[in-house]
Symmetry: C2
Subunit: 581 residues, 2 copies
Amino acid sequence: MATFIATPASIPPQNALLRLQDIPNAPPNWHPLNPLSFILRAAQIYPEKVALVHTDVQQPVIYTFSVWAQRIQNLAYALIKAGIRPGDHVGVIAPNSPMIADAHHGVLAARAVITPINTRLKHSEVEYILGHSQCRLLLVDYEYLHLVAGTKIPVIVTNDTGRAGDPYEDFLADGRRFSKEKGWPGLEAEPDENAAAVLCYTSGTTGRPKGVLTTLRGSYLAAVANAFEGQMNRHSTYLWYEHSIVSYYCPPNLGPDRILPMFHAAGWTFPWTNVTLRTVNYTHIWNHFLHSGVTHYCAAPTVQIGIVNDPQARRPPQPITAIIAGAAPTAHLIAELEKTGIKPVHVYGLTEVGVTYGPFTRNYDDPSWANLSLEERARLMARQGHAFATAEEVRVVYPVEGDAVSNGPLKDVPRDGKTVGEIVTRGNIVMKQYFRDLEATKKAFAGGSFHTGDLAVIHPNGSVAIMDRSKDIIISGGENASSLAIEQELASHPHVLEVSVVARSHIRWGERPMAFVVLHPQHAAKWKGRHHEFGQDMKEHAKKRLPGFACPEWVEVMPELPKTSTGKILKTELRKIVAKL
Amino acid sequence: MATFIATPASIPPQNALLRLQDIPNAPPNWHPLNPLSFILRAAQIYPEKVALVHTDVQQPVIYTFSVWAQRIQNLAYALIKAGIRPGDHVGVIAPNSPMIADAHHGVLAARAVITPINTRLKHSEVEYILGHSQCRLLLVDYEYLHLVAGTKIPVIVTNDTGRAGDPYEDFLADGRRFSKEKGWPGLEAEPDENAAAVLCYTSGTTGRPKGVLTTLRGSYLAAVANAFEGQMNRHSTYLWYEHSIVSYYCPPNLGPDRILPMFHAAGWTFPWTNVTLRTVNYTHIWNHFLHSGVTHYCAAPTVQIGIVNDPQARRPPQPITAIIAGAAPTAHLIAELEKTGIKPVHVYGLTEVGVTYGPFTRNYDDPSWANLSLEERARLMARQGHAFATAEEVRVVYPVEGDAVSNGPLKDVPRDGKTVGEIVTRGNIVMKQYFRDLEATKKAFAGGSFHTGDLAVIHPNGSVAIMDRSKDIIISGGENASSLAIEQELASHPHVLEVSVVARSHIRWGERPMAFVVLHPQHAAKWKGRHHEFGQDMKEHAKKRLPGFACPEWVEVMPELPKTSTGKILKTELRKIVAKL
């Protein structure tokens, strides 16, 4: 690293004020909640602390908080010079890298709205989003330039070098010159805390992507909650693997969509160190676990499985907290993580993740669980739990009738851990609206709460437990079988690495579960050429644990499961396979 | 404790909803910030966790979160039945005890404003406050009934027993009956987050007490910051010694005044356990340190000195964080605490503490300090540091000219660690106004920020260091001598337990410092009958460390220093002594 020197434009002047312009006529006992205040604070208190580590690339860079804050400021001025006005949308297409980290702050510092666009999309999808979002400028990583070919929107390219001559670096340097050293006090603070912060695109499996619009107030309170729930502090180091900065909150399969809250929390509440990886690479991940002092990371169970099963896996020298999102952890995964010395924390966010600024519930473990068997404990840990500290309560309600869309009232299901209803939520860490889609907004907020589409029960202590996405429920012989519950049981088979279950139509029962299984590398050899026998073994295993209607009728062994870039299993792809059978 | 059974009215029904009434027409992506949400959340997630421990009394009580939440609800209904309407003021006079803990939540649950009144006041002072505050009802501990003798305001008395037959318990039971089991959903949520939460009285050394009015939004964000800065979590146990619940934020010498933020934080962010002591009693404190798993407490240096010097002091089995407020810790105190295994964290709040909801800056230690000598480290730790995570930046500005009171702009002093200015602050965790005192409010907020009256320098990294209260500066031979800086140096004398320095008029120099010293018990015998010699010894000690104009001209040994109930040294009393010399 001795060879890396930040560009001259990245070096802040001595004793610079890290404060935005005063808001005229603001009441003295009020300031608008804005996540930007956290990065300014970090740069103020710990200017020399390492903020960004981006070293697993050809041209590694490391930035301190004071340098990072200067780069963010430069970006804000550069955007303003480029004609960006308050409320304008600025698109970003990039993997985890300093530019997208800068943008999550710098765009807000220009009072503009960041529109992160998923790198896994096709050109035509990006084209649609660019049109719908009305982006005025694009910041694009060199690897994804093809996605914006032909656009009329101005594009700033980064080669991800951090060196002078990189067009993005020149853009920043130009911003610095334009600032005439007025620094942070030369930038206006957004006076309205309910102004938009992020516009991220997500889509269901049908129709066009929808633009999720969030606010500064929501981002601030979500950032606080994330830091809280992770018990992160200024001594923490957060590993952003692969696309987690850009798409952690919105799996790309569901649309082009990235959002910042966790990342916001990163720079915004405590000055912790951020390590960024452009791609999932277990060698790099373990390298950072063992040698960079990483204390926190977040990943879906499938990536967690990859981590604990990597040949380099061993007990790291410092405690690590694994935030598990995207799906509930299995007993097997919990055991493997704990054996490696990694503490699992299970959180839940929506599939359209931007809607709740990332995760918004957490499974709160209880000291009494220490006396339970691993299996019992895993069952409790698989629950999605309670709302984050700054969120409003999560409810499970009876489905809304057709014409009740306009105004509920929503009716809670009993807290019996049995009655299935839909998870709804509202309050400070719920999105403001779907951008330019009043109809979808109205429908999503029927009865005054956001409808998640996740079917769940609620336990007497208010802890929610998802049974399934409504579309993943398998209706077998008139019974509702939860694909999640089936997966949970099948995963306990000792030879299974991963499993996913979808409905397959059945002449007698309507639908029956079909299981797709990846064998554990240590056991794959044993079943080589005998997948049918394994299927029998698995069915025997299931029979002992599941009611008949929930037992898989078919078991298919696969080399790997189709997944999103964030490691979420693509059931849509499995359904396509099933449809062809 | 086996003998304690909560009253029947304190036992909640099964599976009660812990949610206030919906706010009509609230936007679905918004809910008002209200610290009440934290206690409801704690009772929801950890119903069986111990919330309140009040055992160092004749009739000990212990409440779980679920029981506590029920008692709070009962109190809200009881207040409503008694005619309390939204915005009404409810006075409380009590030491740390369950009633005042209940009231900090229950009064808010009735959408009313809590007015805690200091137990150390005289009857005439209480009378003035009752009139000025327009309290509609009073909750009074049996020990302080004499303070409200003759009042026409209805009084509810507690005998602090927690047993049926106690008038306060009967009041709660009556509230429960009145609720008709409508529970929390029968109580309205306050729709305006800027509505008043607390009215606490404080007074300068001159004039009538002033009523500091704070808001729900401010209380919420201050609670979040306190939990954050203390890195408190659901496994923490907080010890509230003596009057810390009621007057921690406003030392009684400065007026009748108590406020809740830290206490709010207590029940409101994480469900930690609270231990309450009616009085400072080192035996009880050490008993809880060693046997109740206390992890956090807050006290002024003088109480901290008492704690580490207590004969029972030894390394507690669990890590303890000592939050030090009221004055900067000396090197000696830091060393003693660390030796005992207690981690010191230095925070700063105003003398009129309600104004900033308690402490609002913190000294952020840096890993590099580990290499410094204790003395150097203590010098850095004595700085007041940076604003809390949810506060706006703290500034040090040049004094405002007479006619600039109406509208600044305030001008920052250079960040050179030398130029003395006044600390000002503004934003979410600053009070709304002085109640019924427009003139004082206007003056306090001259230039749009609250003027603390504390003189300080600001270091290049934005860390503030108080030199003195403006009135405590000693003008000696035309030089400004900081009494705090002098005390810091005199305290390094190995035979000193405590020291305080004030100005005494001097025929030649105008003013000269006079030191009041309490000798360490281990060394007092040595100087018995030789206080004059000790004075000489101290002057020699001072000469090596201080410029001539700052050396004490007089040294007076005292058996103890006059103090407030929170342990802050009463310089006003020392000045009275000086005036008579």
